[in-house]
């Protein structure tokens, strides 16, 4: 038997007494689409691992995904719902979700873009399996396929029916699905072809608020976190990182064997590690060695106080291709020259940390036979595996990466590396035992990557009617995706190139990431300029301030200046900033979320000050990202005496098209909004000329519960779109421009730099009107 199922191949491998199943596996369609990311010398492809979806004779279903969970819950909720829906099986039938592990999952790819623009791999895979099940049922029942209907895991037609379990009973069935791509690249494999998909109008599982199954095990302390993994003979490791982001080792401190008799010191290039049988001894011994270790000095950074002058005056923005938005149109210079009202302003965003609550931690076991096992919490196990193999000069198939629950880190490891994995491998290889490397809090703030700082220049103009007649923005941001393994870098072992080096995948170019949304504007010019990472090229260890994508990457940096500038334009025109947006928008779904956020937030045409001496204001921001429209209103109270901003309420309206799981999406949006308020009010990476000076939660503060606003989430379910947009991450980007807009509304002053710390706001408010960049709008 060999049946063609819309390009997939269904075959019977034999009959078995027990444990019959249909296994959906993969075959590459033709040659691999992408070249190997790291080194052409490495093998082009590896054998593809087993199955993705398994239909078992007891009517249970197992699914596998190369993605892992970082607190989105998607792989345990939305993925199950999508698979159940396409299979026409009950949600509860999917009893097992295998995720992440490189030796147990088929497709790789990163934990980002989880819903894949409405077409995640799991959806197509399930659609193929569904067709295969209908073919099997047609053969079994002797009924034409088009006469069959599947519901709740049972196929019926012509008065007969058979369950999925019965269809596979006693058989070994394989379905080979066409895929394309490169398993070991950052993006993994993509399911190919076009199997028929279930009509949205027939959905019964998608749209319901199924709970996230992993929450029970986490709440009851039954989950195996990465922090819980232990191996026989395992040693605890602590690493000693260089004194600055450009220091080389002069001499390692001597380990005090009298005090720490069971500890060992490992020195590899500019990376030092101490391992010991107990965690406390490893910590103390590492501190003792660090205190005696000597490093060269380095001062290659501008320091946080001079950062934006560095961007303006010193950084080289001419070396990278300039990105121009596809929506650019008209003659902006002419429009600005001929308009009665104009505005020119610069906006500045600081470096941010992903700042996971748990610092990165990994356990590595480099075995005598050369095989390497890494136990960690990564968004991209296959890419990490490739990087580890490259570092060791070993074949990729010698490396296995297993993933476990851990602290969310919001994009930091979407290219594989969170920080500790390669260091654990280096230490394990050196001592010949499994080593668990736990970064301490200062390591995690000072040696992880950051979300890049950015600067944007805006010029805009209003016509006589107060409408936007011209808009120009130039975005400046250093390279954002440095996936080099930091331990390999310090140890002098092979890594992928830095963003400014030959062969880099992403390079130093900046992209246009924030789609233009105000189509009524006749002349628009948006451009994005890139440069190398700050201090990296001049660092003797090629470190400097390494950057990495973080929630809403690149788009946050472009949306803040755009949305605040639009609010300023509205004030300049004497118009309500929300109505101003409605007047300039043309896309129906954008208008929908703007109206929803206006109607549900208590938006007033003019917010009033309170009788409590605080100035109150409201602001709005919008975004289109990955198929989803967002609008956010912030309502704030400002204390003019202290400059303290209290965010009283955040309202977010979101239209992702089809809402897959309302309750889970609502929680994700709430979380994103809280992170957004935190970024707007508090977050800014402190660094001097040598390195990052933030080293704890006091020097890199995040929002606490005391300051959490009332949060209202409005989900706009829009099934007519026929697809599901991405979940929640944009929620974190919207708060800052909405809050800055509310500050303008409350005080007439514009804060064009984040964060809105009290000293900054107070200084802004104390400026004499007329000398400040402030605007007074309608009143």
């Amino acid at each position: 038997m060999n049946t063609n199922v819309f390009g997939a191949s269904l075959s019977r491998r034999g009959f078995v007494q027990a444990g019959g199943a249909l296994l959906a596996g993969f075959a590459l369609a033709g040659r691999q689409a992408s070249a190997h990311v790291l080194n052409p010398a490495l093998p082009e492809s590896l054998p593809l691992f087993g199955s993705w979806i398994e239909i078992h004779e007891d009517n249970t279903i197992l699914m596998r995904t190369g993605k892992s969970d970082f607190g989105q819950g998607t792989i345990f909720t939305a993925y199950r719902q999508i698979v159940a829906e396409e299979l026409s099986a009950p949600f509860e039938a999917i009893t097992t979700v295998v995720s992440g592990d490189t030796d147990r999952t088929p497709d790789g790819g990163g934990t980002f873009d989880l819903l894949g623009g409405g077409m995640p791999n799991v959806r197509k895979a399930a659609a193929y399996v569904h067709q295969a099940l209908l073919d099997l049922a047609s053969q079994r029942l002797g009924v034409a396929k088009d006469q069959l209907v599947a519901k709740d895991g049972v196929v019926s037609g012509a008065g007969q029916s058979v369950s999925y379990g019965d269809l596979v009973k006693g058989q070994k069935l394989n379905l080979t699905i066409p895929v394309k791509g490169d398993l070991n690249s950052m993006f993994g494999l993509t399911v190919d072809g076009n199997p028929p998909l279930k009509a949205v109008s027939e959905y019964s599982v998608i749209g319901k608020s199924f709970p996230n199954s992993v929450i029970v095990s986490k709440v009851t302390a039954k989950e195996t976190w990465v922090t819980d993994v232990r191996l026989p003979g395992m040693l605890h490791g602590r690493v000693i990182h260089p004194k600055t982001l450009g220091s080389k080792l002069i001499s390692a401190g001597a380990l005090d064997k009298a005090r720490y008799p069971n500890s060992q010191l490992v020195v590899k290039g500019n990376l030092l590690g101490v391992v010991a049988p107990t965690e406390w001894e490893a910590i103390q011994a590492a501190q003792q060695v660090a205190s005696g270790t000597k490093w060269t000095e380095w001062k290659g950074l501008p320091g946080d106080q001079r950062l934006f002058r560095y961007f303006k005056e010193d950084a080289d923005w001419k070396n990278a291709p300039v990105a121009a938005a596809k929506t650019n149109k008209g003659d902006v210079a002419a429009a600005i020259a001929s308009s009665p009202k104009t505005l020119a302003a610069t906006y500045e965003l600081p470096f941010l940390k992903h700042a996971p609550i748990g610092p990165t931690m990994a356990l590595a076991d480099v075995r005598p036979d050369g095989s390497v096992y890494v136990y960690t919490h990564t968004q991209n196990p296959q890419a990490l595996r490739t990087g580890i193999a490259f570092m060791l000069g070993a074949p990729v198939d010698k490396v296995v990466v297993r993933t476990f629950a851990g602290a969310g880190h919001y994009g930091r490891s979407n290219g594989g590396n969170a920080g500790a994995e390669d260091e654990a491998v280096i230490l394990s290889q050196a001592v010949g035992q499994p080593v668990r490397v736990q970064w301490m809090r200062p390591d995690d703030l000072q040696w992880s990557t950051q979300s890049p700082a950015a600067l944007s220049d805006v010029r805009l103009s209003l016509d006589a009617a107060g409408n936007l007649s011209g808009y120009e923005i130039s975005h400046y941001m250093p390279a954002m995706q440095d996936d080099r393994l930091v331990g390999a870098l310090l140890a002098g072992l092979p890594t992928i190139p830095a963003p400014d080096e030959k062969g880099s995948i992403f390079g130093i170019a900046n992209g246009m990431n924030d789609p233009w949304l105000y189509e009524a504007t006749p002349a628009v010019l948006e451009r994005a300029y890139g440069t190398g990472q700050v201090g990296q090229a001049s660092s003797p260890i090629r470190a400097g301030l390494r950057d990495h994508s973080m929630r809403t990457p690149g788009q946050y940096q472009q949306n803040f200046p755009r949305e605040l500038a639009i609010t300023e334009a509205a004030f300049l025109a004497g118009k309500d900033p929300l109505e101003f947006r409605i007047q300039h928008a043309r896309q129906k779904r954008l208008l929908g979320v703007l109206e929803a956020v206006r109607d549900s937030s208590g938006w007033k045409t003019r917010a009033a000050g309170g009788s409590d001496g605080l100035s109150r204001g409201q602001g709005v921001a919008v975004m289109f990202r990955a198929g989803t429209y967002w609008a956010c209103v912030a309502q704030i109270a400002v204390n003019p005496g202290t400059g303290v901003i209290k965010v009283e309420k955040i309202t977010v309206a979101v239209d992702p098209g089809i809402v897959i799981n309302p309750a889970q999406l609502k929680r994700q949006v709430e979380g994103g909004a809280v992170m957004g308020v935190s970024m707007a009010l508090l977050e800014e990476l402190a660094f001097d000329e040598s390195g990052i000076t933030a080293n704890d939660w006091r020097s890199y503060p995040i929002l606490t519960m005391a300051d959490v606003p009332e949060i209202k989430v409005v989900l706009v379910n829009n099934p007519g779109v026929g697809s599901y947009g991405q979940g929640s991450e944009a929620a974190n980007a919207l708060a800052a421009p909405a809050i800055a807009g509310a500050l303008l509304d409350a005080t007439g002053k514009v804060a064009r730099r984040l964060p809105l710390k009290p000293a900054y706001v107070k200084a802004l408010l104390s400026e004499i009107r007329g000398q400040s960049p402030g605007l007074r709008g309608h009143s």
């Binding site: 965690e279 609550i357 748990g358």
Partner: protein
Amino acid sequence: MTALVVNGVKREVQAPTDTPLLYVLRNNLELSGPQFGCGMAQCGACSVLLNGKEVRSCITTLGSVAGKEVTTLEGLSARWAQQKGLSGAALHPVQAAWIEEQTPLCGFCQNGMMIKATELLEKNAAPTVDEIKDAFTGGISPHLCRCGSYTAIIQAVQRASAAMSNATSKRSHA
């Protein structure tokens, strides 16, 4: 050898007395509730109850807890059962509320959040939102959540509060 009572069971630990309790719980006693977040008592991921009071196990030495009672996330359900005179309980009402409200996102901080909620509700059965915020923000440091689950935590504490007072009133009417 240091003796302490962990989740109702007497345990003896062979470790230097200056070892932070967190490492004793995780490595010597193989408990997985308390997490390492900062090691500086700034985040609350490592919280446990020490004689009923929430403390940060990352800065609490083994020597200082000799003879005392430590309750971790693993011991919450038994603690509730004992307090209510039940033969057993699958979940502490705080845990049940955390599940019903779907509170955790990544969940790494939630051990400390549930420990703090338990301490709060044992002292104040019906806290206001401001009292909840005070409890989670005051003390040695705020309890931090990076995923932004604070709203869900407040709702879960309120749900647990209602469940616990229902349990109490049912018992008193029995």
